[in-house]
Amino acid sequence: MRTPIAYFLVLAAMLFSIGTVGVLVNRNALRIFMSVELQLNAVNLTFVAFARMHNDLTGQVLAFFSMVVAAAEVVVGLAIIVSIYRRRRSVDVDDVREMRW
């Protein structure tokens, strides 16, 4: 493998930053959720890149665990979004202010 590991890390950093911007800019809960998925994937890419760099399979196993947790998180998060939509006919996070003072 001739591609330097840092290239993958920089790519992951860029994807994570784009995801961060998406979380900060959007108000649609679904879009925010998709940006969070992008961030999770960037972190997984970092895990796998470091696994290759250190010749250690632990990074790949951790990325696998992270995918499992992400799947569970998506299921619960989308269920919450659906139930919020049922209650107030909107997925705009600015409209959900019961837990704000």
């Binding site: 001739r2 994807l15 784009i18 796998v48 890149a49 010749n55 399979l57 196993v61 989308l78």
Partner: protein, 192 residues
Amino acid sequence: MPLDNVVFWVFAPIAIGAAVAMLVMRNVVHAALFLVLNFGCIAVMYLLLDAPFLFAVQIIVYAGAIMVLFLFVIMLLGVDRSDVRTERLFLQRPLAIVLGAAFFIEIGMAVRAGIGFATKAPDGFEALQPVGNAQAVADVLFRQYFFPFEVTSILLIVAAIAAMVLAQRRVRSVTQAELDDATAAADAEVTA
């Protein structure tokens, strides 16, 4: 130019372009489809990093299951209404972009200080997995990480039950008086 370098420089711009397109698309369905493209490119990166098992898992779990769930919920909630694009916070969008760029530069400097841009992966990764990547990952997973693996199964069951409880419609229990009224009304309709 080595082959894996070519593959990287083809798929890395596609991944970044798809991520940016996900942000700027007005239609949520289009944004979700660009996210699928981005996940596919990340799967190719896993292949470059000698992780074919995670390549398959990424495509099956992320591009398959998770994004289908996303698209299903988007369709369920309706996509015809376009998002409100006016800013409610002063300078929210420019500040977010500046902060994201600063974050990227910070990580880039950390990578440069940490491992440098020229460090190549050492040889001998294949020696770790004599019978293949999936078997080697399974070996680590079921020996060193067996207990966390079992805990994730509990997590998945709890998540599935939680999703069903959260998303179900509340069924109001009917009192006997309402039931009698309904039967009476139905009887009156039949006789009339």
